[in-house]
Amino acid sequence: MKDKIKIILFLTIIYIVPLIIFIKKDTLLSYTERRVLITKEELKKNPLNNIENYLKDQFPKRDKLINISSIYKRYILKNYETNNAYLYKNVIIEKNYPLNTQNINNFITNINKINKTYFKNNNKLLLIIPDKSYYLSNKNYLKIDFNYLELLLNKIEINHKFLNNLTLNDYYKTDIHLKQSSYLKILKEINPKFQNINYTKKVLKDFKGSSYSKIPVVKSEELEYLTNNIIENSIVTHFEYPNIKNVYNLENYNKLDPYSIFLNGPSALIEIETQNDSNKELIIFRDSYASSLTPLLLPYYKKITLIDLRYITLKEALKRVETINKDILYIYGTEIINNSNVLKINFE
């Protein structure tokens, strides 16, 4: 009897699964992994090569099964990390390890050289935002030596600030980024003259950030954004997406990357013009941490230009941007500094 039950159940699984896969309508996107899935169309192009990935992508209850695998690693194997991330005080923290001194030194050399070459007479500031691993205790976790990192970063020849007055609560639990309201704390670090301005805080429910799928045991949270007339009346010009004109693109909330409501997500070059009386202009060299900070800087500038050197070379960016008399702000998280080889900086 036992044998018959085993055989029936095993055969049921191996016959039902492919039937479901081939009968059901293909799932097009994986929201947890933020990627497009392989569909029958692609399978038809090259069946032999694509069949395995097609079955993996279209497997019934795929996300739930992948969650089981994370649970297996976390609760049975008792791995401290799951998919290169830690669960610490109910916050998912992506591992940023080991310290890559070569990348850090390259970052320092490049920042110093950019300033000497292009921005000798501009006001300049570098803001360094610690990634969430900064808040891990040393016990049971691998984290880079942030004291040593700060020591190395002291070789930067312009005014720079390592933002160590933040707390883990300032970040999202399921995403690497800071909550937008947390940036209000640091506005004065950028310029002591920046006064608090009134914003309306809006929230979007059921936010699952980019880290969510790594340890899918943390509940979804709320994504917040701050707005006011200045932000709403600002006009955005995207290098890549000429049709997007708003600072916040709420349509993106239901797409692959909900965080890309801020300035429409990753973008090489963006210009934002405000309706302010200010005559000051700002250029921000940035990674994604700047996406939700920038709207809060709009009240103080006439125009802000954002350059993401991960997607455009320094040379190409500077061909398109006027730099004289503009304030220069660098905003980089410690992940990018530790992996600065992703920045397209060359001086030839």
Partner: protein, 458 residues
């Protein structure tokens, strides 16, 4: 195609099972043959002709050996098989070696090693020798012989099956519910070994290697080398045995808890049994085995070990690896075996020799190998660092589970329970346990894109 792929489990296997079981018995070998060819072609299109030619040549030679001029045809068969193997597996190795010694600058040949060539060549050789020795009669049905040779469960990573072991099943096998059920169990156990243990150990290894290494890290990596290959290969063998069982075949065991051995000699009787017994029966005993003088016996062992090295691959580290184990076997034979009475000490000795041995097996670059072994003994290396302690702690459960499952503890507990009053409980638990392991393996397989088997290119 690999067994631990969704394509195999949810596409190939269900279709084959359906067609196989609705086909009349007399055509079932043909079905297995066709599907084995599809299985092979999926992984390697270009060498399918070589595979079929190899089957045809050995089938004809087998008959010739039986009919007339026996020795002549045996020698011809051996030459053909060994030449093909030498050409595909070792041609570039020999070219490189000659280039190194004589600075000749001969260009390498553009050869890709045919999938499973070491396994099916050895099956051909064993068949010819057994026909020559009159242990078996030659096969007169080409389909039956080819099915034996390229039966998909053992085609690409063994075990090396002898014709005599499978002949009865090829001609007249009985498929039944018990066998099928046992086949599922073995397949799922093998799949779990591969996905839940071997691949996880691989991840542990790659994580540790990417950090700064301490002596502890080197030993942890050495542990993963040994355990990963054990669970990878024994898992594959379990799957092969299980799959064969689903079609009514009885393949011999290829592993017998080798990690509990109390000597290296014993280890090689428990590890990759089909290869060890091949060399024992077709080389060692043919050369006189141990029924000769001590010096000739040592020579015989040396020949066996040199062949074992070469079978594993055309690389210097495999030669060192074989000689390393040869050395310990000789030392044991000459005097050490008498002193291996203490259980704990003998296990420590065996595991230490194995850990170092499988480092040699895994690292093909000799300079890297020397650095690694120096690291294991603390030369120019810190004893412990933060990273190594972290990886020890975070992988502690994996280390304990993989060590325990390398012993027959679970098997012994089950056997005891079966003898006692708990047989009903065991019967109730078996099905959910096997299905849980199956679904857990599938879930880990889905979450991971990494999945190569180690033993495919040997």
């Amino acid at each position: 195609m690999i067994f631990s792929s969704l394509t195999f489990i949810f596409f190939f296997l269900p279709i084959l099972l359906l067609i196989y079981y609705i086909t009349p018995k007399k055509y079932r070998n043909l079905i297995l043959l066709i599907f084995s060819l599809i299985f092979y072609i999926y992984g390697e299109k270009q060498y399918v002709i070589l595979l079929i030619s190899s089957a045809l040549i050995n089938y004809i030679i087998g008959k010739k050996i039986e009919q007339k001029g026996r020795k002549k045809y045996l020698i011809l068969g051996l030459i053909i098989n060994i030449t093909i193997l030498l050409y595909y597996k070792y041609a570039n190795f020999f070219i490189d070696t000659f280039n190194d010694i004589f600075s000749l600058g001969i260009k390498n040949l553009s050869i890709i090693l045919p999938l499973g060539i070491s396994f099916y060549t050895f099956q051909n050789i064993s068949y010819l020798i057994d026909v020559y020795d009159k242990k078996i009669k030659s096969e007169h049905n080409f389909i039956t012989y080819t099915t034996y040779l390229i039966f998909f469960p053992e085609l690409i990573a063994g075990p090396i099956v002898r014709y005599s072991d499978i002949k009865k099943d090829l001609e007249q096998r009985k498929e039944n519910i018990n066998k099928f059920s046992y086949g599922i169990t073995r397949f799922v156990i093998g799949l779990s070994k591969k996905i839940l243990l071997a691949d996880t150990l691989y991840n542990m290894k790659t994580n540790i290697i990417s950090t700064s290494m301490s002596t502890l890290s080197y030993w942890l990596v050495a542990f993963t080398f040994l355990m990963q290959i054990y669970y990878d290969f024994s898992g594959y063998s379990d799957m092969a045995i299980g799959l064969a069982k689903m079609f009514g075949f009885n393949l011999k065991e290829n592993f017998n808890y080798p990690l509990i051995s109390k000597s290296i000699t014993e280890f090689w009787k428990r590890w990759h049994i089909s290869l060890s017994s091949f060399f024992k029966d077709y080389v060692y005993i043919k050369l006189g085995g141990n029924k000769v003088s001590k010096i000739l016996n040592i020579r015989n062992l040396l020949i066996v070990w040199l062949l074992t090295d070469l079978w594993h691959g055309a690389s210097y580290n495999f030669i060192i690896w074989g000689l390393y184990f040869f050395l310990f076997i000789i030392i044991e034979k000459l005097f050490l075996k008498k002193h291996l009475n203490n259980k704990i000490l003998s296990h420590i000795y065996v595991i230490t020799v194995l850990l170092i041995g499988f480092v040699i097996f895994n690292i093909t670059d000799i300079t890297e190998l020397i650095t690694f072994i120096k690291g294991m003994f603390g030369i120019n290396t810190k004893l412990i660092n933060n990273e190594s302690l972290y990886y020890l702690k975070t992988n502690l459960v994996l280390i304990i589970i993989s060590t325990l499952l390398g012993t027959p503890i679970i098997k012994n507990i089950i056997t005891k329970l079966k003898k006692g009053k708990h047989i009903k409980l065991l019967n109730i638990l078996e099905v959910p346990l096997i299905l849980t392991l199956f679904l857990l393996s599938i879930s880990v397989l889905l979450s991971s894109s990494f999945n190569p088997f180690i033993y495919f290119r040997f």
